[in-house]
Symmetry: C2
Subunit: 227 residues, 2 copies
DNA sequence: GAGTTTCAATGACCATGGGTCATTTATAAC
DNA sequence: GTTATAAATGACCCATGGTCATTGAAACTC
């Protein structure tokens, strides 16, 4: 009954070498990123990612064990880029505490997709990823936190351990503040139109800078509260 | 073929009055809370909530428009209780900044389910709730933030506006810190067993107290960063 | 370069769970 | 007792994450 589907011959290019596989993996991540820029995370289906990447749904599962693992990989890449930028900044001399708070704020504000991904990390992405994958992710993260933490201590003359502590805190603060400052589009519109809700409307950059400055100030002073 | 199901007669008690409806609603929320104490949010299905509450699945949708709305209501209740406790504490005199940070920390640590719910707020609960519901929730929240904020300013002698600002920041900080300190059970076990990941293991109370102290300190000093 | 092997790619299919709605029937109203 | 109302039900719908038997591109063999 059903007419034989054309079976699109010649369209199946197979990634055989490790290099080709890496490339295909990147293509998939790229497609997912593109979709994330256009719609909320929940609205992105695996089918849509597959279509956007020009592969079949099943192919996605050749490269990522679950949907969450796919987006965790995406976050992983962004984390790496973020730490690269941070390290580069810390290598340049003449950094003050408020200057750093300012730099961090601007840098984060310029990476809205990174912020959205980070916000999903605990509640969503870690929920359905095979444990080894999650651990590998956390291990990479821990390494970079420690390395950059040391550089940060040097740059801001913080007591030992305060650098990584500060970066850790940053991870706790940033997603919350970002979500509060930038709720989903329809919600944002409604909140803006409601006078009673004015108190909940905050500006990410303003709050981030103030909060960070206070925290750094606290860390520079009382070292006894640390480990 | 299929044997006629007994149709459990006499078991269907109908909530007719507003009072009875409220009670049934509470029963459902109570059941959901119980389940949340036993398993992660993702693992809780509407069917399981229905069974636990002793009603049919369809009944849940008589009281809550979506799954997320149900849990948002649960969070709403906990928020109210939390602010009640906060207000009561602020009414008692003789509160210092570190004393307050300490009280907040202990109070939060004693409400793990509240922490888990708060952590779900932005990423999950707000995603699939009818806009009016979400707005009502936010309005209640904004009111209590403002009211308690004023009391807080008085108690800690903070500059005007700093009280609600502080409570707002608290909402950004708390869930992140809580998630970082208390990941899902299997993950936690694995992290604890891995020396490389020691840096990511933090104690909620310790970090919360230190962070809060720093923030309050910052707010008491520089008032110029505030609106 | 014909034959053989390998395994990336596919998409029909499955299972699950959120959400719906025609039907049932407890309760109120008379 | 009869009728009207609407709370409760659960079979059903359907979207979506994930699987796997099958296909066929590329590598390998002789």
């Amino acid at each position: 009954m059903v007419i034989e589907t054309p079976k699109l011959k010649g369209k199946r290019r197979r990634a055989v070498s490790a290099d080709l596989k890496d490339r295909r993996r990147s293509e998939i991540l790229q497609a997912a990123l593109q979709l994330l820029a256009q719609q909320p995370y929940d609205a992105i289906t695996m089918s849509s990612v597959a279509t956007a990447a020009g592969v079949a749904k099943g192919t996605l599962y050749l490269y990522f064990p679950t949907r969450e693992a796919l987006f965790l990989s995406l976050l992983d890449e962004h984390y790496a880029a973020w730490f690269d930028a941070l390290d580069a900044r810390l290598r340049r001399p003449g950094l003050t505490a408020p200057g750093w708070a300012d730099w961090i704020t601007r840098e984060l504000a310029a990476r809205p997709l990174f912020l959205r991904l980070v916000a999903l990390l605990h509640g969503v992405l870690e929920q359905n990823v095979p444990l080894p994958e999650t651990l590998a992710f956390k291990r990479r993260l821990a390494q970079r936190v420690e390395r950059s933490g040391i550089a940060l201590e040097r740059a801001l003359q913080l007591p030992g351990g305060a650098g990584s502590r500060l970066l850790l805190w940053l991870q706790a603060i940033v997603p919350g503040l970002a979500q509060m400052a930038a709720p989903a589009a329809p919600l944002r519109a409604a909140v803006e139109a409601d006078a009673e809700l004015a108190g909940l409307l905050i500006d990410f950059a303003t709050e981030m800078r103030a909060l960070l400055a206070a925290v750094v100030h606290g860390l520079q002073g009382k070292t006894e509260t640390l480990s």
